[in-house]
Symmetry: D2
Subunit: 290 residues, 4 copies
Amino acid sequence: MTVNHTEEDYGRLIVQGADQPGIVSRVSTVLAEQGANVVALDQSTSDPTGGRFFQRTIFHLPGLSVKLPDLELALGEKLVDDLGLSYRLVESKRHKRVAILVSKADHCLLDLLWRQRRGELRMTVPMVISNHPDLGDDVRQFGIPFFHVPVEKDKKAEAEKEQLNLLKGNVDTVVLARYMQIISGDLLDELAVPVINIHHSFLPAFMGAGPYQRAKDRGVKLVGATAHYVTEDLDEGPIIEQDVIRVSHEESVRELQRKGADVERLVLSRAVAWHCDDRVIRDGNTTVVF
Amino acid sequence: MTVNHTEEDYGRLIVQGADQPGIVSRVSTVLAEQGANVVALDQSTSDPTGGRFFQRTIFHLPGLSVKLPDLELALGEKLVDDLGLSYRLVESKRHKRVAILVSKADHCLLDLLWRQRRGELRMTVPMVISNHPDLGDDVRQFGIPFFHVPVEKDKKAEAEKEQLNLLKGNVDTVVLARYMQIISGDLLDELAVPVINIHHSFLPAFMGAGPYQRAKDRGVKLVGATAHYVTEDLDEGPIIEQDVIRVSHEESVRELQRKGADVERLVLSRAVAWHCDDRVIRDGNTTVVF
Amino acid sequence: MTVNHTEEDYGRLIVQGADQPGIVSRVSTVLAEQGANVVALDQSTSDPTGGRFFQRTIFHLPGLSVKLPDLELALGEKLVDDLGLSYRLVESKRHKRVAILVSKADHCLLDLLWRQRRGELRMTVPMVISNHPDLGDDVRQFGIPFFHVPVEKDKKAEAEKEQLNLLKGNVDTVVLARYMQIISGDLLDELAVPVINIHHSFLPAFMGAGPYQRAKDRGVKLVGATAHYVTEDLDEGPIIEQDVIRVSHEESVRELQRKGADVERLVLSRAVAWHCDDRVIRDGNTTVVF
Amino acid sequence: MTVNHTEEDYGRLIVQGADQPGIVSRVSTVLAEQGANVVALDQSTSDPTGGRFFQRTIFHLPGLSVKLPDLELALGEKLVDDLGLSYRLVESKRHKRVAILVSKADHCLLDLLWRQRRGELRMTVPMVISNHPDLGDDVRQFGIPFFHVPVEKDKKAEAEKEQLNLLKGNVDTVVLARYMQIISGDLLDELAVPVINIHHSFLPAFMGAGPYQRAKDRGVKLVGATAHYVTEDLDEGPIIEQDVIRVSHEESVRELQRKGADVERLVLSRAVAWHCDDRVIRDGNTTVVF
């Protein structure tokens, strides 16, 4: 579902929970009673019996900003109290505030900033944070603040504290755009916002160091990338998007890495775009992408 | 939407028409009043203002076969009379009867028959008709009747009359699986069922005779295929599915044709599968594919 | 390089070994001295300094069958003795004899047999062997012998002995087309011909049992397949070909498996076609595919 | 063939012409006699009998710059005079000078400049010329001169004269990166360097104005892009590279255009990279891409 409505008076409602008869009807009725018109609707059930229910609804409601509290009240009563579902309500005009963390590689960062400038991503970028100073000039040319927070060995806790001070309350999402440091479980907990990561992927995976070299050593024909939400299990979180590109024996390890970078930036940009439009619903360790 | 429910008591409801506030809610209410539970729902609007509305709903209703007349009555009143919409109601357990027309090429035909035997396509194949006898043995090995209806120059009308006699009332859909004859507008009208065609496609198109040779002469790097509903404008009907495959200068015209055949059978099988599940909604000369 | 020359008097020469100056020139000269004309040539070096050299040459030599011994003599002297290279010389008209081993799944088997019948694969199929009787009728319809060799627990050695008796000397290549038994290192050694396997692949890999279920549980967006030469390290041999297909949250585990089957048959057919044309050169655990 | 050798003493030799026995051997011998070692070689013949011959050879020759005249002399004698072939000899260290022409769209331009800065493209960019001033700042941030040459109606000849003054003698290739003016045949002739263009492509083509709208009106499922050499027949020149991206009914015309832009920049960057490495050989209206 990529029809988008960012204008005044449009909202997005995400509903999820245990499946049961009549949810779609109930949601429609609540919205209709509040004067809202459904513009687009995606719905899915993981299993016809005993499965999980997911719905994303885009609606138009004149005076939405003023009527939000009443709508929240009705949804709380009819969906949460009565049916035990959970919901998320978003005004389309409120773009998510997305901080980007990077190290030295610029390909994912620049693609995000460039798309944001073109109007392709419904987000604002209040800051870019890096453990290296290298990309400062590039970032500031877009009019975006760049903060250099070095991460020294044995002083990672201090660095994470500084990152937390910068981010806490100022952002709705954090994107790791080839940020080469592991985010601790503590920082994830304290941030309490979704964190999206991108990393290279192969069929099959080549675990450990030097995956491109090892992929080449076995003659792989495809290199790919996976964008996922970060959980404490490094690189094991729910997948948002993936893609691959074809390679051959003619390409050196460095060329595999370049093609890998092309896929990474495309996959990450798509994942961030969908996340910003609330098209991605997390459910445990999997996702529904409408 | 590929979650499918072919079991007893499941139904599919397709609704389309001019968009207006409250359709989703209205459909949900009608279904709920009849005792049906919505299992899956896809909805789309071509334009937020003044657009076209499309919805595909899968529901569960104990005793569906018996309750169909009541449900039709309610839908007629609440959707057609009140809102001016049109609808289509299908019992999931009733598989579409699909006739296949072929000439001499076997790749699309065999892929369809093989997938049907595997249970991948929710259809029955009451007959295969060909203007050549060559594929008779292949078809009959699948336990399917094969009718040879030659199409002689200047006697096309007679041949079409014979085809019509075989098909009329016996099939819900006709698939042209590399059938190398043009279907007349008269036959289309009299058949009064959807007709699906597959043909090769290039970027850009190479009109006229010998398209593979001409594609090679310009160094094309992709060959593709398009599955579409047949209209009187030959090869100009609404598109159901398309795909491409990569080629290089190393490949001869014959090899381009082979790769083209691989794409054709894949694209046609996907289009037929979606059509049989009522996932494809025609709207004028375009389609919505849920 | 897919230009192929199967006619009388065409040959293929594969040369590989440690790179050194002048190999291309040396090969050309040997062929020219014997009266052969180079029709197509692919050459690659893994590293400009100290790398491995690979070359596939297609040549035309009137009276090739008679002149083979002289050509072998010249190649042995000028390439093996002088430069320490190894070579393989094949008459294009001699199609490889390929045995197919299957279990119960028919998709890879039927795609190979169908393509062979169409003339897309330069191979003959002297036999199909299965540990189950189910696919016998399908195979025999193609006029190909089918042997049922059950593999009972604790009697694997006996079964492999029977397989060896059937295969030894009768085939140039063995293809495991979803054969669900592990081939022992002993059988691999005694067969002494290349063995090609196909298996599903994901980004990243999901090791162990139930990979489709586990892939779904993490929300994967691509399922794929890998064709590779079999080595004693199960599923770790040099890769010939890979491809993927897109999936979504809407698809059940069973539907993921069906899409996986579509990729498997396509990838295996391509791998077998290239192998039969001597386009795949093994080098340790990697491949060069011309 | 993407192994590249840009270092001192590496050269590329492109040979093409009517096929005949012994060309590969002849080229190898000439290079060997001059002391050159073949590092990589790609060769292709359009047809085994009476076809066209193409070869790209990368070689290493100590002191190449000094020895160029002798090599040219030998090639002229042995390939041109004796065999009627044509050849092109390039020192790998001499990067092509590529001018970029743009209008207002920035996606193709920025992708080229960013890749050039990263070292992915073996080219220098001596200037960017535009008929609009909008992209001046973006270009100059890369340290590249930007020239604004307005093209007023009825004064196109003057504008082309100014373009010619800027370009003539200063560039080896011109890239039209979404330059929305037609280049006259006169300018093409006077420039006398290859001109590469990128444009959107569909299956099938939608000729004339508003192709994205018309593609949407027929429900296309793929949008694509084609990079080609410019000839006097607008958009009909030999194709260098093509690719597509999947779209659905959910996407508006504007979103189709955005996805189209993503394909355009990727396809153009690949085409320019291959052109700069002399991997693309034109032959009449087709190409060979090694």
